[in-house]
């Protein structure tokens, strides 16, 4: 398994998203524009340029079924882009923020989207047919700091957020007239908008990147202290596991299946985490095989018996001076990876392909083989 395609699109990419048929990729080259590239034969060519924001575009999401692009930016606004004929027509969504918008994600049913912001709030936006207008409803006064990442539960009601106050929270986003009472799981559909279901207090430092497992049973998020946290049964009786990393912290994570998580971040190389039959999560390996992962690069902080086993193994004999400096070179990515996106076709339940982008301006497509 390795990177199947690497493409250098820009100097630096803040975020990217794929069209429903995955023939096109939209990304922000670290400025106020969104570029859409299409693959013609062997060559990527720019087909659209979305220019409406005034400042850096911090989030892009492209809905699979309705083929709409939503973008958010440090200019505190959001646009929903609709393709009409060959043009992308923007609709302004006034988020009512006084700080930058940082991240965005369409809900599974694509009738809402969530925006995390530096204003310590989360906006849930939905379409009002009568007014032909996207309305933003705010979840206020719950976060003590910027919201760095949002993730929708598959039931279209629950939303998980991570924040620089170190906490991961789960909210109900039930909106009358948009969500029907039957739509979610019975327990979660009785909740009012903005109600906090859970607050996870595991990290003492910034939290980044949150993801639900495909079934919505497991939640995972990363801390800036080189830890990744896995929480089972968030709604009823949460149980948490911490996995401490040997290397630099993660920025974003993705559930590929119920038992397999990919984490990307400052180590420039995607990390694979799996759960065994007993539900115990652990680090398995680096995805980029060019980098030789030391076998001792893992330990679970809660499970001290595993500690000794994993840590006790000695590292391969490498000169200690060259270990850190040679680390990111020669891999698919040469700088911090900030974004991981599944490549999922409509109706697909399992993700076998995903793409990553980062500060080196590359978009890398990865394909999982059957060994994991």
């Amino acid at each position: 398994m390795a990177a199947v395609a690497i493409h250098q699109f820009a100097q630096c990419i803040t975020c990217h998203a794929w069209s429903p048929d995955q023939s096109m990729v939209a990304f922000c080259p670290n400025n106020h524009e969104v570029h859409i590239y299409k693959l013609f034969g062997e060559k990527w060519e720019r087909v659209h340029l979305l220019q409406k924001h005034d400042q850096i575009v911090s989030g892009i999401d492209w809905s699979i079924r309705s083929n709409k692009i939503v973008t958010v930016s440090h200019d505190r606004n959001s646009y929903v882009w609709n393709q009409e004929a060959s043009e992308w027509v923007p609709t302004l969504v006034i988020l009512r923020l006084n700080r930058a918008a940082l991240c965005v994600q369409w809900s599974p049913k694509e009738n809402k989207f969530a925006v995390g912001s530096g204003a310590k709030t989360v906006c849930i936006c939905y379409y009002e047919k009568e007014n032909n207008w996207w309305v933003s409803k705010l979840i206020r006064k719950k976060h003590n700091s910027s919201v760095t990442s949002v993730a929708w539960h598959p039931n279209n009601i629950l939303l998980a957020t991570t924040s620089t106050d170190g906490k991961c929270r789960v909210f109900s986003t039930f909106i009358k007239g948009v969500d029907s009472r039957e739509s979610g799981a019975s327990s979660s559909s009785n909740l009012k908008f903005g109600e906090q279901i859970a607050q996870l207090d595991l990290s003492f430092t910034w939290a980044f990147g949150v993801s639900w497992s495909p079934s919505g049973n497991t939640l995972a998020y990363a801390g800036h202290n080189s830890m990744i946290y896995f929480i089972e049964d968030v709604g009823s009786s949460p149980s948490a596991q911490n996995v401490a990393l040997r290397d630099l912290p993660l920025r974003d994570i993705l559930f590929v299946s119920e038992k397999l998580v990919i984490g990307v971040g400052f180590d420039c190389n995607p990390m694979v985490f799996t759960a065994d039959e007993t539900g115990l999560w652990s680090f398995v390996k680096f995805l980029d095989e060019k980098k030789i992962a030391p076998s001792s690069s893992k330990y679970g902080s809660q499970f001290s018996e595993a500690f000794g086993k994993l840590y006790g193994q000695s590292k391969p004999a490498i000169n200690s001076d060259t270990v850190e400096s040679s680390r990111p070179r020669g891999g698919a990515h040469e700088n911090c990876i900030s974004c991981i996106v599944p490549l999922r076709k409509p109706g697909d339940t399992i993700v076998r392909r995903f793409s990553t982008s980062g500060l080196d301006g590359k978009v890398v497509i990865w394909e999982l083989d059957n060994s994991i």
Binding site: T205, S226, A244, R246, F307, Y311, K315
Partner: protein, 134 residues
Amino acid sequence: MATVGFLEDENLEAIISRIEQKSRKIESLLKQSKPVEALKTALEGSLLKTKDERCKSANWIVVHRAIMAIKDVDAMFSSLDPEYYDILMKYLYRGLATGDRPTCDQCLKIHEKLTEKAGLGCILRSLADTINTV
């Protein structure tokens, strides 16, 4: 307010007496020339649940004693379990912050080996956590 203050004082006394106990145990382990055992004792339960600087300093003096008694760093790591790595790293940074020459020499020597063993993640965990300080 008075009750809160009283409770805290009681806690502080309990903490100080625990540190004194620990100190005596470490001294006796050092006399038996078991420096690694002494270090383990020093690190165990040393994450104080208090913001009180006097407690932290008292505790640091005890841990410092144990760290300085380590002569053979490689031998120490061969018998020190990985669960101590994160907390040891925190104390190494406290040691480096003192600016005291022999302390810094010793802490740097251990720091090098510990980083080799536990990776950059261990350093990040000790630096990123601003709540559980030592």
